[in-house]
Amino acid sequence: MTSITLTVNRETHTITAPPMKRLLDVLREDLHLTGAKEGCGEGECGSCSVLMNGELVNSCLVPILQCEGASIITIEGIAHLAAEGEELHPIQQCFLEHGGAQCGICTPGMILATHHLLQKHPHPTLEQIQEGLAGNLCRCTGYMRIFEAVQQAADSAPHERRT
C-alpha cells in the first residue's frame, strides 16, 4: 500500500491504496465519485474519461501511483467550472437541450471529451468533433445529437469556459 496525494475537482485528498490500483477505482471506491463509469475497462469506450492535468485520459488505464501530485477533474467537477449563478456548465446544458444524453452511461465521458476538445479547438469542424469524441462510444443516440450539442456548446459559450 502507498500513500498518494492528489487533487480531485480542486480538493486535495490523501489516500492509501495499492500503487497499481486504477484511478477509476480510487475515484469510485475511495472518493465515492461515481460519475466516471466503467464500460469496457480497456481504454476503448471512454466512459471512464477524466481530465488529468488538463489532458483527457481513460481513468481505467492509469495506475494511481502515477497520479501523485496530479490534478484530476471528473464530471462532478465540471459543473464547478460553470459561470457564476449557473447550475450547469454550458456543455452540460447543451447536451441536455439537444438530447445528447439518453441512458447516460457515456455522458460523463462525452462531456469531458468535449471540454478537452473545445480547449484545443474552440470552434471545431464536424471532423474535429468526430475525432475528438471518437474514443467515446454511445449505444443510444447515434451520435448526431451529441455532435449538435457540441456544436452548440462551441457556438454559444466560447467565452464562458474556464479551465
Binding site: 486504477r22 489532458e55 483527457l56 481513460n58 488505464l61 492509469v62 495506475p63 501511483l65 471518437a134 474514443g135
Partner: protein
C-alpha cells in the same frame, strides 16, 4: 477474471538514473509508461508480471530534440506530442499520421512512442513508419548506452534486443527524406479506433526514370514489424512499369508470413499487402 491489484507492485523513481539503478538491482521489473497496454492486461486478469517500474513521469525521457540534420524523440514522447510537432509533420509525415490513428485522443495523451515499440506488437502503428525512415534506437542502462538500427530491434515475436536492465531511451531520425515519395495506409475493421489487419509504409526516390532508393515497412505481415527486403530488391533500380509492379507484388508475397487470428486471415493480409504496395508504386508511374 479481474486481477487482484494487491498482488502487484509499482515503484516510481524520480529520476532516470534512479530508474536505471532500480532496474540494475532488479531486472525483473517491467517498465510501465502510459499504461495503455499493460493496464488493459491488468483489468483482463492476464498481466503475468507482478513488479513494475513507472517511467511515465521521467522528464528525461519526454523530449523532441531537433537539429538541422536530425530529430531525436525521447521514448516517453506521447502520440499527442508527436502530432503537435511541426518538424515531425513536415519531415516525417508518415510518423505524424501513424500517431494520429493510434487509438483515441485519450490513448494518444497517455500512450508513448517507446511503449508502442517495446510492447513489440506486430500490428503496432508506428513501427512501419519508423522502419522506412531508417530510425535508430538508443538503449540505456546503468552500464551505459548503445545505439542500433531499429530494424534490428525486433528479434522475434514479442522479443526485442533490450536486455533486462535496459530501457529504450530514444528514437533517432535523420532529416534526409524530403525528396522521397511516401505512403502509409492502415487497413482495419473500421476507419478509426481499430487495430491493423495489415499496414504498409513506403518511401521511394525516383531518379532518371528508375527507383533509385526504396524502403517498404509492414505491420502484421510477419511475426515482428518488418522491412520487406525482397519486394524492395525487386523494384530497386528498375523503372516503374506494369511488369516491375507485378514483380514487386510477387516478391512481397514470397516474404510475407501473415497469420490467421481474431482480426483477419493470412490470405487476406497477404493479398491486401500486395494491393497496397501496388497502390503506392502506381503513384510513381509517369
Amino acid at each position: 477474471m479481474r486481477s487482484n491489484v494487491l498482488e502487484y507492485d509499482l515503484i516510481q523513481p524520480a529520476t532516470l538514473p534512479a530508474a536505471l539503478e532500480a532496474l540494475a538491482q532488479n531486472p525483473g521489473l517491467t517498465p510501465i509508461a502510459g499504461g495503455t497496454e499493460l493496464m488493459v492486461a491488468l483489468a483482463a486478469g492476464r498481466l503475468a508480471q507482478k513488479q513494475f517500474l513507472s517511467i511515465h513521469r521521467l522528464s528525461e525521457l519526454r523530449f523532441i530534440e531537433v537539429t538541422p540534420t536530425a530529430v531525436t524523440l525521447g521514448s516517453g514522447t506521447t502520440f499527442t506530442d508527436i502530432r503537435k510537432h511541426p518538424v515531425i509533420a513536415n519531415d516525417f509525415p508518415l510518423l505524424a499520421r501513424a500517431a494520429s490513428w493510434t487509438g483515441s485522443i485519450a490513448n494518444q495523451n497517455r500512450g508513448t512512442l517507446g511503449g508502442n515499440i517495446v510492447n513489440a506488437s506486430p500490428a503496432a502503428d508506428s513501427p512501419p513508419a519508423l522502419l522506412v525512415y531508417d530510425a535508430s534506437v538508443t538503449l540505456i542502462s546503468a552500464r551505459g548506452a548503445r545505439t542500433l538500427p531499429y530494424r534490428d530491434f525486433h528479434v522475434s515475436y514479442k522479443k526485442t534486443a533490450l536486455a533486462p536492465d535496459e530501457l529504450l531511451f530514444s528514437i533517432n531520425l535523420e532529416r534526409r527524406f524530403s525528396a522521397y515519395r511516401s505512403y502509409l495506409r492502415k487497413i482495419g475493421t473500421r476507419n478509426a479506433q481499430a487495430i491493423s489487419k495489415v499496414a504498409l509504409a513506403c518511401l521511394a526516390l525516383v531518379e532518371n526514370g528508375a527507383v533509385s532508393d526504396i524502403r517498404i515497412g509492414a505491420a502484421s505481415l510477419r511475426e515482428t514489424p518488418t522491412r520487406c527486403a525482397a519486394a524492395e530488391q525487386a523494384i530497386l533500380n528498375q523503372p516503374v512499369t506494369g511488369q516491375t509492379i507485378a514483380a514487386a507484388r510477387a516478391a512481397l508475397l514470397t516474404e510475407a508470413r501473415p497469420i490467421d487470428d481474431i482480426r483477419s486471415t493470412a490470405k487476406y493480409r497477404a493479398a491486401v499487402a500486395a494491393n497496397l504496395l501496388e497502390e503506392f508504386l502506381r503513384t510513381l508511374l509517369g
